[in-house]
């Protein structure tokens, strides 16, 4: 599954239209137990992050207490409560990948993106995150570009991946 984490900029008018259509899309999930994660995926897919208003809408439409929705959003590191760059590169730093040279992979990614982990690149397109196990220990060192897993990767492949992401958006 390829999921762009979201457009870089969005006007206020766009956002309110998106929020209204979120309401419509949630209609199918009503009265369906355990639908919260799916609703959050939809919300994040639509705006690139789970906006405060999205949390309120999900709470209202699906009947989950707002505190609960907020607790779930903040629990999962793949959900964001603030606007994000379009592409997020997540490099695994856990044991298996570490042994296979994840430190170098991360360093290369940082160099290509041109920003410290957790910070958006100057063009606002990219962000590097150092994350815990991606469940790809047999493909170490592994990383994710948005929701796509890559591994094992070499430093050169990191450079290619990031450059191709930039080119897509030229």
């Amino acid at each position: 599954m390829t999921q762009a984490t979201g457009p870089v900029e969005q006007t206020q008018a766009d956002q309110s239209t998106v929020l209204e259509s979120l309401r419509t899309r949630l209609a199918d999930l009503k009265d369906e137990p355990g639908s919260l994660l799916e609703a959050l995926y939809i919300a994040q897919e639509m705006l690139g992050y789970v906006a405060p208003e999205s949390i309120e809408i999900i709470s209202e439409e699906l009947g989950y207490p707002e505190a609960h929705v907020f607790g779930v959003v903040t629990f999962y590191t793949l959900f964001y409560t603030e606007p994000q760059p379009k592409h997020i590169v997540r490099v695994c730093r856990d044991l298996s990948c570490h042994i296979a040279g994840a430190t170098k992979i991360a360093a290369r990614a940082r160099q290509e993106i041109g920003a410290h982990p957790g910070h958006a690149s100057a063009d606002g397109l990219l962000k590097l995150e150092l994350v815990s196990c991606l469940g790809q220990c047999e493909k170490q060192p592994a990383l994710m570009v948005n929701l796509d897993v890559h591994g094992p990767v070499t430093e050169e492949e990191v450079t290619d991946l990031i450059r191709s992401l930039r080119e897509e958006d030229q």
Binding site: P65, F70, T74
Partner: protein, 763 residues
């Protein structure tokens, strides 16, 4: 902390809190290994937990402190990482200190699982977790304080109790919350005669370890400056403070004189659903055995009539059932008032049970509420049509149900089927505020449902803490303690034995006839504002002016006290011992934890002293002696009930024409008579306001906070408007007993479901 060793079992410590007990299990709780694990856990908690115990409110009742002490831990061997987040107010009453939080999640769970509110949750995960409100916003919850109560450390804190006292400086007394008829067990904590806070203490019936905002924060009236603290006699138009001896002699002389000159039937007394059984019993004994009249009353209320209708129809056994029976029902129909507001803890238990797959909850309330979220079905009954809806549910054909009762024919049929098909079912309603005729109608219609299904139990919820008890001890001109009929020979014999005098053989006159019939010469009112609640206050006041003696015994001045000849200071729940009877018929002990304020007295003492002055010494030295006597004499007469359908009268017609809205007046979470309006917290949590539907507000161009005028054929009140998602279109909601917005001004004879109009007042 819950680790134990189990044999036979896994070769490692087990968590006792998630392991089911099995036969033959050998559980070790204090082996060296287990204590070692526990010690490490505490040591790790102390890595982050600040040792700011001298500054912390929880010190002395802190579970972490106790464990550290018990395990003899001097300091954490780990490098300590102190956090320094500032304390944060979550709302008017709750604050949080994240540094002390050990992330046990008790606050989150009690809020969600027990109260059904879920205003708190945990953000992030692992070491970065915090207890948070929804998106860090102001916590707009029910303010029950349970998050404070369950916090094992000083993380979730009470703002009103912040730095008020050290835990070891207070004395605790188990008592009963005075506000509603759930009768929650509470623990009153005081220091030097001043109530400082209320906690819950051990979980027992009926509240099972929880309370609501009124229980937790609604006690400040006890210490209020406006309390009456001395007896007063009116001299030259002014109430003047006097000593007790003088006041008692005055009352006794005047009562004797009126009884001799005008006859005892010109004397009457009004008791109170806010006073204990002992208080009411002493007052009616004074009237019946010393003055010689059966004219003993309760102020306007719905429970007495409800009790009468149910016991005469289904039998006296059908009035009270236990909370267990309610929670074990398959279907529970809540009709009329929002019991989440009127009887919150019972509603919380119902919500929790419904969520755990217990009863199917059907909410047929007049306004929307927190019940709806947990309800299998929720509908809005038209205010004034509650009995009609019940009639329709029991099978009566009604034309155009949508407009006559506000509920569709399909929904009515579905509710009827649910009750019919349930093995065990229940109907719950607050008996408050509905005018006498309608109260009887609703009770009758509920009886008819019970008769038609044959398995529906009724749970009428008295609107005041001890109305059930006041009825039981005979605050009724037509019933002796029990309640038993005036001519019940066994009851009379029992009373005669204890009293040495018999009550009059003729029932007293009805309250209205007594008040307005022109023969009243003396009136003794205890714990009730009979003018404010009268259907014709001007006439009631005239009658009192014409009478030779008006005695008011109360904790606060009120409109009746302000015209009384004698004012006698009574006591609050914290200052007297006795019993309340809750909605289950359960006797709930009230314990004196504080000395009576100033020169006030426990209420039962006052009629007893008057009686002694009049030559009849009751001989009570303490309230427990009255309770023993009540248990000997007040044996309910066993009525079998007619078991025939009750005829139910019409409904209040739908509003229309000049008055297109229906007024709903109900007690809510923050209101409970005058006691909730005295002292801080409750009064601050619910300002005087009128709640209206959002769409109605838009049509009338009314914005939140603007001043509006509510007008009926009988009068008008103004207040600021609050737009509410819970108020249905066509309804205007006023909380009961807001002195600033007296709903009764709008419909004296029928303060509920009154047709009103609404308009914006230009400032």
């Amino acid at each position: 902390m819950c680790v134990v060793e189990i044999q036979p079992g896994p070769p490692r410590p087990s968590a006792s809190c998630t392991t089911l007990v099995a036969p033959g299990m050998d559980v070790r709780t204090d082996t060296e290994a287990i204590v070692g694990i526990r010690r490490k856990t505490i040591e790790m908690l102390l890595q982050h937990h600040p040792l700011d115990c001298p500054y912390c409110d929880q010190s002395g009742t802190c579970e972490l402190q106790d464990e550290t002490f018990d395990l003899n831990i001097w300091k954490s061997p780990f490098e300590t990482v102190s956090k320094a987040y500032p304390e944060e107010n979550l709302n008017e009453v709750v604050m949080i200190n994240h540094n002390r939080c050990i992330l046990c999640y008790r606050c989150v769970r009690v809020c969600d699982e027990q109260m059904g509110v879920h205003a708190l949750d945990v953000s992030d995960r692992g070491g970065r977790s915090f207890i948070v409100t929804a998106q860090h916003k102001f916590m707009d919850c029910e303010r029950c304080g349970m998050c404070i109560e369950v916090c094992p450390v000083g993380a979730v804190l009470s703002r009103p109790f912040k730095h008020v006292a050290r835990a070891w400086q207070t004395v605790q007394a188990d008592s009963t919350c005075p506000h509603c008829s759930v009768g929650c067990k509470i623990q009153v904590e005081s220091r030097k005669g001043e109530v400082l806070r209320v906690r819950v203490g051990e979980p027992v019936e009926p509240n099972r370890g929880i309370v609501c905002v009124k229980g937790f924060f609604g006690w400040s009236f006890v210490n209020d400056d406006e309390r009456i603290t001395s007896p007063m006699i009116r001299r030259a138009g002014e109430l003047v403070e006097v000593g007790w001896r003088e006041a008692i002699e005055f009352v006794s002389d005047r009562l004797t004189a009126v009884a001799e000159m005008e006859g005892p039937e010109t004397i009457g007394a009004v008791g109170s659903g806010r006073c204990t059984n002992e208080d009411n019993y002493a007052l009616q004994r004074l009237m019946r055995s010393v003055v010689g009249t059966n004219n003993v009353y309760l102020g306007p209320n719905g429970f007495a009539a409800t009790h009468q209708v149910i016991s005469s129809t289904l039998g006296s056994e059908a009035v009270f059932h236990s909370q267990d029976e309610l929670l074990e029902s398959d279907v529970v129909l809540v009709i009329g008032a929002d019991i989440n507001g009127t009887h919150n803890v019972l509603a919380a238990h119902l919500k929790a049970a419904a969520r755990k797959g217990g009863p199917k909850l059907i909410a047929a309330t007049r306004i929307g509420s927190a019940l709806d979220v947990f309800a299998h079905k929720s509908v809005r009954v038209r205010p004034g049509a509650e009995s009609k809806l019940l009639a329709a549910i029991s099978g009566e054909e009604i034309a155009d149900p949508e407009s006559s009762v506000g509920v569709s024919g399909d929904d009515i049929a579905a509710i009827g089927d649910a009750l019919e098909n349930a093995e065990k079912s229940a109907i719950v309603w607050d008996t408050g505020l509905w005018t006498a005729g309608r109260v009887a109608d609703i009770a009758g219609a509920a009886c008819n449902v019970a008769l038609s299904t044959g398995k529906t139990k009724l749970f009428p919820l008295p609107e005041k803490g001890n109305l059930a008890g006041a009825v039981e001890v005979g605050m009724d001109p037509a019933a002796l303690p029990g309640p038993a009929a005036i001519d019940d020979t066994a009851a009379r014999a029992r009373l005669g034995e204890f009293w040495g005098a018999l009550p009059p053989t003729e029932p007293g006159t009805g309250l209205d006839e007594f008040l307005y019939g022109g023969r009243m010469k003396a009136l003794y009112v205890m714990g009730e504002d009979i003018i404010a609640t009268a259907k014709d206050p001007a006439a009631a006041k005239d009658a009192m002016d014409a009478a030779s003696l008006v005695i008011v015994q109360d904790i606060f001045m009120n409109s009746t006290a302000s015209i009384a000849d004698v004012v006698l200071p009574g006591a609050t729940f914290a200052e007297k011992s006795g019993h309340f009877i809750n909605f289950e018929g359960r006797a709930c002990p009230v314990t004196k934890s504080n000395p009576t304020l100033g020169d006030s007295r426990e209420d039962w003492e006052i009629p007893a002293r008057i009686a002694a002055q009049m030559g009849a010494d009751f001989g009570y030295r303490e309230a427990s002696e009255l309770w023993s006597e009540i248990n000997e004499v007040a044996k309910p007469a066993e009525l079998s009930g007619s078991m025939t359908a009750v005829s139910v009268n019409g409904t209040v017609p739908p509003p229309g024409g000049d008055y297109p809205f229906a007024l709903v007046t109900e007690t809510n979470l923050y209101t409970a008579g005058s006691s909730a309006r005295h002292g801080p917290v409750l009064a601050d949590l619910y300002p005087a306001q009128v709640e209206i539907n959002e769409a109605d507000a838009e049509n009338l161009a009314i914005e939140d906070g603007q001043t509006v005028e509510v007008t009926s054929a009988g009068g008008a009140v103004t207040a600021s408007a609050k737009l509410s998602q819970f108020v249905p279109a066509g309804v205007v909601y006023l909380a009961d007993s807001l002195p600033e917005v007296p709903a009764r001004e709008l419909g004296r004879s029928a303060p509920d479901a009154t047709p009103v109009s609404l308009r914006k007042v230009e400032d």
